[in-house]
């Protein structure tokens, strides 16, 4: 995990330096938006594909699907609520456009 973490961090920093130096200019900016969207949708497709290909996912879901859905929905809902509760404090003194 630590190697992966360092790899992701390094890629983000390299990308950040490219962006900071104004890499590509405005022309490439619009094209990059499209490339980014296509890559993102492809990545999501692959992630879905992995779930569909994994027999363990399907067999576990058929057996424990209801419990899994209840637990995951409840986990997500409570974590969203708690983040919402502290949002004002966390973003104090910053101007976030939302």
């Amino acid at each position: 995990m630590s190697i992966r973490l360092l790899l992701y961090l390094a890629i983000l920093i390299i990308g950040g330096l490219f962006g900071y130096k104004g890499f590509g200019g405005k022309e490439l900016d619009s094209k990059m938006g499209t490339i980014q969207t296509v890559c993102l949708l492809f990545l999501l497709f692959i992630m879905g594909l992995r779930m569909g290909l994994d027999d363990k996912v399907i067999s576990s879901f058929l057996e424990l699907g209801f419990q899994a859905v209840v637990i995951s929905i409840s986990s997500v809902a409570f974590s969203v609520i708690l983040v919402k509760l502290v949002k004002g404090f966390v973003l104090k003194n910053t101007q976030q456009g939302e």
């Binding site: 900071y20 974590s79 003194n93």
Partner: protein, 197 residues
């Protein structure tokens, strides 16, 4: 965009289940890694272009840690509540929720405790990842950018990060990465601690 996201995930599941042979699964690792690295590079460029974003994160300071802490507390509390409804012991449901979406690690850690709980941790955290991918754009649009980090849990530092970055802004993307790192680091500690309670 949200519709395209839902369609991509569901199409992937459908094609994987009905059309492609399961031997292909091992090769998807490489595709996923390359795609993820490329997208993280784009996320980095977006962050770099917004020159004031690091200043904003500096202003937030240690308060940023509240985001992963709340995600962790909410996930464990939520799963214990769900477990209560389902008639499960609090330590078991809590340990499943403490996986924070990291399905491979949480299921592996619970395998020695019970194979059924291990399978439940696996499928619950897979389901959490699917829910995250489907809801992040909606949560950012209708509830708020910072809240959209919450469903991702541990995956906010990798697989969910490009989606969070696309749906929100560079500041939230940095917070998501920090939150994902802390959540991921906490998973092994929390799962092993909670199951022993």
């Amino acid at each position: 965009m949200s519709f395209k996201i839902i369609l991509s995930v569901l199409a992937g599941i459908g094609v994987g289940y009905f059309i492609l042979p399961s031997e292909i699964l091992q090769y998807t690792d490489y595709i996923l890694d390359i795609g993820l690295c490329l997208l993280l590079f784009f996320v980095g460029i977006d962050i770099g272009k917004n020159k004031d974003v690091l200043g904003k994160i500096k202003k937030i300071g240690v308060r940023v840690l509240l985001v992963p802490v709340m995600i962790i507390i909410g996930s464990i509390f939520g799963s214990i509540i769900a477990g209560f409804i389902l008639g499960m012991p609090a330590n078991e449901s809590g340990a499943v929720g403490a996986g924070l979406g990291w399905y491979s690690l949480s299921s592996m850690m619970l395998a020695t405790y019970s194979s059924r709980l291990s399978a439940l941790a696996f499928i619950s955290n897979v389901t959490r990842e699917i829910i995250a991918l489907l809801t992040i754009p909606f949560i950012s649009k209708y509830i708020g950018d910072l809240e959209s980090v919450a469903p991702a849990g541990a995956t906010a530092m990798d697989t969910s990060l490009p989606l969070i970055a696309k749906s929100t802004n560079p500041q939230t993307a940095i917070i998501a990465f920090i939150s994902g790192v802390i959540a991921s680091t906490s998973v092994p500690i929390l799962v092993s601690f909670i199951i022993k309670i």
